[in-house]
Symmetry: C2
Subunit: 141 residues, 2 copies
Amino acid sequence: MNEQNFLEFVKNIKFGNDGLIVVITQDFKTNEVLMLAYMNKEALKKTIETKIATYWSRSRQKFWVKGETSGNIQHVKEIFIDCDGDAILLKVLQMADGGKSDFGAACHTGFRSCFYRKLEAEKLIKIGKPIFNPDKIYRKN
Amino acid sequence: MNEQNFLEFVKNIKFGNDGLIVVITQDFKTNEVLMLAYMNKEALKKTIETKIATYWSRSRQKFWVKGETSGNIQHVKEIFIDCDGDAILLKVLQMADGGKSDFGAACHTGFRSCFYRKLEAEKLIKIGKPIFNPDKIYRKN
């Protein structure tokens, strides 16, 4: 992306006092909401340039190329911002195997979506089943 | 909702230091993401009890029954929480006319979704058209 166009684009975005903006990530084909995360300006720029979703990890305080460990990368197809510029919506293809398969999981628990717990009859129940076994994907050091 | 069940439910939720949790609101029928807002524990309780989306307005610092002015209320059909309990997903019927019509707009600009601006060829473009004219809906005092 042209630097001038990027600067024009980010004028519409209100990053918080911590330099972050909240990002909703949605499945490009089904519109399923996969996860919610955060970006700073540089992560947004990397995401636009590489078309691979790159967040800012608040817990690890570093860039987080989604799927860099698990292979469940996200190809970014569309980027939206909301009316007051304080939220971003990404539409992605949630891949697996580093991009070889298009049926990956967004959640570190192995579920396709992080939103796999639903309030039903006043209790939280799990919806669906994990796609991968996290113990096999994330090596314990 | 039973008080004990509510207390059990909110044990799974991590409210921020400001007492708020981020909420994604999605169309129950189409899965379109309509908006992003915030709730505190009491707004979440009101939402569960009334089945009408009630947020906490950060700008006005008060409860915000979505649509109380415009009539574009949201009937809550499903509530999900994410893996680490720091985001909520609501699936709603986005109504208009105080619930008489099921084709309302979530955005104060009159667009159905707050995410009506898309990055396309390095520029922001508007997608779709407003459903209502905000000047007619929100009276100027």
